[in-house]
């Protein structure tokens, strides 16, 4: 499992951690029933608080990506690929919703917002 | 407690060469000057060496850490007495051995009296160094306690001098002398032994109070 955290990012560490583990699962690098490192182990390796790791694991469990067996540790859950993709879609949608709301607050019209999106997509090519 | 004893033994072992030197001096003096020299001499140096382990504990601020080890402060105190008395006693026994060997080698008469007299002469030394020095050292630290000890010895000397000047006491001593017989050393030894026990118990409890009140 390869995890790279950015300490100066505005995205909270636990979210970065969640996203990266999710990615590993969705892209099939972490298959179901794989044991995840213990909270303390990962916390030690990444040099972050154990509570941060725990928070990430808890959220991942809520979203159904992993299962935690008391006393045994956490394991990658039996995930439906489509469900996982759906979850990703949901995250993206939520982020867009936030940005769109912000844009509306600034008085952007629907067309202006679409323009911004297409310009960014163009730049990315 | 066993850990503290081990620690003091380790510290004592740091001074092996000093001990050997003391031993050689004891043997030489016993051999060439006084036949009874090494008894009191080795007891005194032994107890001094043993007490110096307190200085080792206090130097370099070791005390706070020692009290985080699994041992109570009372145990620290008890261990010191055990260690100081034990080591002084062993040193005294070695002194006695040297005296006996020297006496035999010189063809002097050897009997139980010598043994008892030697041991009796060692007890007051134990009392002063152990019973008085330990609480002083714990209370005042190595530097000050030496001065306090000097003061106490001075006071005892002055009192002793004044008593010896008093005619009443002189008469009493003369009276007592009349009752002295062959068993006198044994009686003296017994009296010293009782004194040692009583004063040591007192000294231990004083030391215990001193340590309990200490903050680090």
């Amino acid at each position: 499992m390869k995890i790279i955290l950015n300490n100066s990012s505005m995205v909270p560490i636990y979210e970065q951690l969640m996203d990266q583990i999710k990615n590993e699962i969705i892209e099939g690098r972490l298959v179901s029933e794989t044991a995840l490192p213990s909270v303390r182990t990962l916390s030690g390796e990444l040099k972050i608080s154990a509570l941060t790791v725990k928070k990430a694991y808890d959220r991942l469990e809520e979203e159904g990506f992993i299962v935690t067996v008391h006393g045994k540790g956490s394991f990658v859950a039996e995930t439906d690929k489509n469900l996982a993709l759906e979850a990703c879609r949901k995250t993206v949608e939520d982020e867009f919703a936030k940005v769109i709301l912000k844009a509306k607050n600034f008085g952007f019209s629907k067309e202006e917002i679409q323009d911004v999106v297409s310009i960014i997509l163009e730049e990315d090519k | 407690m066993r850990a503290l004893l081990e620690k003091d033994i380790r510290i004592l072992l740091l001074r092996k060469s000093t001990m050997v030197m003391f031993l050689v001096i004891g043997i030489v003096f016993t051999w060439s000057f006084s036949a009874y020299f090494s008894g009191a001499y080795l007891t005194m140096l032994g107890s001094m060496l043993a007490i110096s382990t307190i200085s080792y504990d206090e130097a370099d601020n070791c005390m706070p850490f020692l009290f985080t080890l699994p041992c109570a402060r009372k145990q620290y105190v008890l261990e010191k007495y055990l260690f100081v008395y034990g080591f002084s006693f062993i040193a005294g026994l070695i002194g006695l051995l040297i005296i006996l060997v020297a006496s035999i080698a010189k063809g002097l008469p050897v009997d139980v009296t010598i043994i008892i007299e030697t041991l009796a002469s060692e007890i007051p030394i134990l009392l002063i160094t152990g019973g008085i020095m330990i609480p002083l050292q714990l209370k005042f630290g190595p530097e000050k306690s030496r001065m306090v000890l000097l003061a106490i010895v001075g006071v005892i000397f002055v009192i002793g001098y004044m008593i010896s000047k008093s005619t009443y006491v002189r008469n009493l001593m003369a009276e007592a002398g009349r009752y002295m017989d062959g068993n006198a050393p044994i009686r003296l030894f017994a009296v010293f032994l009782v004194l040692l026990v009583v004063l040591s118990v007192l000294s231990v409890s004083i030391s215990g109070k001193i340590m309990d009140g200490k903050e680090y």
Partner: protein, 287 residues
């Protein structure tokens, strides 16, 4: 694991007054400037000093009255105290074996060797870093349930500090029920190690928070006069005037990030937090 109930300790020119509860399985850090009261707090927990008021409870018993068995479960590293420096590691191994029934001699000696600590040299010949590593090793090679480390990284260079911190991480990995209490005035050490942090200043705890929250939700805003007048100040915990306007400390950086695009918002480093919360005594605007 440790509970301080209204513990008060008075000295001539300094009074410590703390209340806290440290749960099992945590790495808790105490941070603060020199003389803020960190070491006194540790000494109270270790029963080296007794409180004038209140109660310090360690593993269920009063700190000044711990039994031998309970003390066997505590590992301690003190900043300026240890075994006599005239002794060698070979000597203290024998002492530790008698002191702690669970002392793992082989593990201890192997750890010493791998960290380059000579077993047969008097410890007074050791460098500051070697001494610090040894103190931490001594504290954690007898299966203690509670580690109390007072300034274990003081006076060490970055590399040596990391080695010491890794030792602590390794120790926690072995058994997640263990508890570590650590003090430092080097905040970056605690940032990467601790689960929660107490900020102590002038004998009082002025902040207690999970590291996760400090790094994730706390923020420093840098705003000019004009913006400051207009902005919503209800989530500012502290404001300090500066040359360009104001530096504000918030516990809700997301709120400002979402509502004030373009505002300069930085993640909090513990060092800054300490300065923000302790240095500016005058003209402050505390909410």
């Amino acid at each position: 694991m440790i509970t301080a109930k209204n513990v008060t300790k008075r000295y001539v020119d300094f009074t410590l007054q703390v209340d806290f509860e440290i749960p099992k399985g945590r790495i808790t850090g105490f941070i603060g400037k020199n003389g803020a009261g960190k070491s006194t707090t540790m000494k109270l927990i270790l029963g080296l000093v007794s409180p004038d008021e209140g109660e310090m409870i360690v593993m269920g018993s009063s700190a000044t009255n711990l039994s031998i068995k309970e003390k066997e479960n505590i590992g301690v590293s003190l900043a300026e105290s240890g075994f006599s420096p005239y002794l060698r590691i070979a000597d203290i191994t024998k002492i530790l074996k008698k002191a702690y029934p669970n002392f793992a001699q082989e593990k201890f000696e192997n750890a010493c060797r791998s960290m380059g600590l000579p077993l047969n040299k008097p410890m007074k010949e050791f460098s500051t870093g070697m001494k610090a590593k040894l103190r931490v090793l001594v504290a954690m090679t007898h299966e203690a349930k509670l580690l109390i480390l007072d300034e274990p990284t003081a006076g060490l260079d970055v590399e040596a500090r990391n080695e010491v911190l890794d030792l602590i991480r390794e120790y926690m990995k072995e058994d997640e029920k263990r508890t570590v209490l650590i003090t430092s005035h080097i905040s970056s050490d605690l940032e990467s190690l601790c689960d929660d942090i107490y900020l102590i200043d002038n004998g009082k705890i002025i902040l207690h928070e999970d590291t996760d929250v400090i790094l994730g939700e706390y923020g420093i805003l840098k705003v000019d006069q004009e913006t400051f007048q207009k902005m919503d100040k209800s989530f500012l915990a502290k404001t300090v005037p500066t040359s360009f306007g104001y530096t504000c400390f918030t516990k809700e950086k997301r709120y400002y990030k979402d509502n004030y695009p373009g505002m300069v918002i930085e993640n909090v480093k513990l060092d800054e937090l300490i300065l923000m919360l302790t240095e500016f005594k005058k003209g402050e605007n505390e909410k």
